[in-house]
Amino acid sequence: MSLEVALPIVIPLLTGALCVLFWRSNIMQRILSVVGSTALLAVSIWLLASVYDQGHVVMHMGNWMAPFGITLVADMLSAIMILLTGMMALAIAIYSLASASTTHEKFGYYPLMHLLLAGVAGSFLTGDIFNLYVWFEVMLIASFALLVLGGERAQMEGAVKYVTLNLLSSAIFLSAVGLLYGVVGTLNMADIAVKLGEVENTGLVDVIAAMFLVAFGIKAAAFPLFFWLPASYHTGPVAVSALFAGLLTKVGVYALFRVFTLIFNNAPEFTHELLLWIAAGTMLTGVLGAAAQFEFRRILSFHIVSQIGYMLLGLALYTPLALIGGVFYIMHHIIVKTNLFLISGIAHRLLGTYDLKKLGGLYKSRPVLSLLFLIPALSLAGIPPLSGFFAKFIVIRAGIEAEAWVVTGIALLVGLLTLYSMIKIWAEAFWKKLPDSTDGASLERGRTSGSLMLMYAPVVALAACTLLIGLNGQPIYDMAEFSARQLMDPSQYINAVLGGRP
């Protein structure tokens, strides 16, 4: 029994259920939420430790051996993702104590948040393709409800697009699973990988691969399927935006990494070439979209899209170094992007707007906040010695080694444009004088209130993580390298899952 593989799913589910039990008591829900997230983080560290020891941690649910039962598998990539989930869960849980309004809390904010975390953790850990679909849906339904909490005009508009495109993606995913089952007659991912090697009708396999690419591409907000993301992410409550920005699209990226290293690795000249151009398009359109925006959270939303491109580039190049870069990029990106959204929430709390034209004067009155913004912002743009520099460095170096000149050039250019966007936010929100039309009363009050401290705490912690990855990157690099080695050699995964077959 490897309990640590199941616990990251069980703990948020249990926390969510207990929160429902205390429906009328906001205080109990807050306590449970923080305790549950802390437990999730603790278990994720445990999981990471045992993955370090054993390579793959496998658990067959109900003792039905693979490929007949549902298997939970954690390799290094899953363990890293679960660790990041735990970190983000705790950061958001603490931040929510101050940022979530009482009406949101009354309508099930905490239960939904933990249900979402359970769905995310389930997607990272499952070793069964249909089970992956089920976890996606668990995650989606929770995210739908979280996105419309509050029921404002913009939220409704955003939600219609978000719901439609995600359901479309689910339907394509389900169809692809159906066709795949028709070809190989199994749902266990390791077993699919074995049987797919023996299939003669490779044309059909390519079609199925393309369907998976489209389905996960929509979830990951890859070019040209990303339009739902900038239309919806900036509409929800800010803690929800931060959680979505950090984790949800990365589930799509994780699914792409898993499926295109384990299952569809036979025809990289077709699938990975396609991915390469998708990555280039994603980087470029995302960053150009951001350049045209003048709203704090919209700029950040477009940057999620452009950063997804770097991760996909790591996968598309499909060399050991590129995969290290991809995994490293995911780690860096989740922390940085969540942090930037949290900071936009603090700016909103202080000045009551996300519009860059109305923001201003933050540097003069809140120098610490400005410094805290600069760390993730410059890291996102790839300025040394922050985490983003090393992430970009590895990916771009892999691109040069693979002699993919055009895409590497685009990646470098996008880094420069990212810097432009971040400097735009810096100049408008922090450096510029506060416009006369904006009410700066809460800014003038020098003392920081207790609830604002709760919003600062996760921001400081995440900024420290960014600095730590930048200044002491070796352990993180080792983790990414460990993970890339496993991804490049799917036979380890297959043996770990099917080795227990009687």
Partner: protein
């Protein structure tokens, strides 16, 4: 049997996409319903249709006798139907609320959050 089912699947997908491309959000949700049904029928068809052979194992035996229908796709479809039901119930409530707040069912007039 399979060719008929295959044509039905194709028609369902076509109808679903046609409905989703309309401007009305009600038709959008109808399109989503058709889409999920199309996917379910596709699973059913692509896994192979076997007539009149329930997957029952005779008493005392450990394997079924001869070729039997595969029960797994049906379990998958059942799961998918339940999930689609829940998600679509949400979608119906969402369009109702969206109509109440936005006073329109026309997707072309929901462009405020676009870029």
């Amino acid at each position: 049997m399979e060719p008929i089912l295959a044509i039905a699947v194709g028609l369902l997908y076509a109808a679903a996409i046609y409905m989703m491309l309309r401007r009305s959000i009600v038709k959008l949700v109808i399109g989503l319903m058709l889409l999920s049904n199309a996917a379910n029928l596709l699973i059913f068809t692509s896994a192979g249709v076997t007539r009149g052979a329930p997957p029952l194992i005779a008493e005392g035996a450990s394997l079924p006798d001869g070729i039997v229908a595969d029960p797994l796709p049906q379990a998958l479809i059942l799961t998918a139907i339940v999930i689609a039901f829940g998600v679509l119930a949400f979608a119906v409530v969402l369009i109702h609320r969206a109509y109440a707040i936005l006073h329109t069912d026309n997707l072309d007039q929901m462009k405020d959050t676009d870029t």
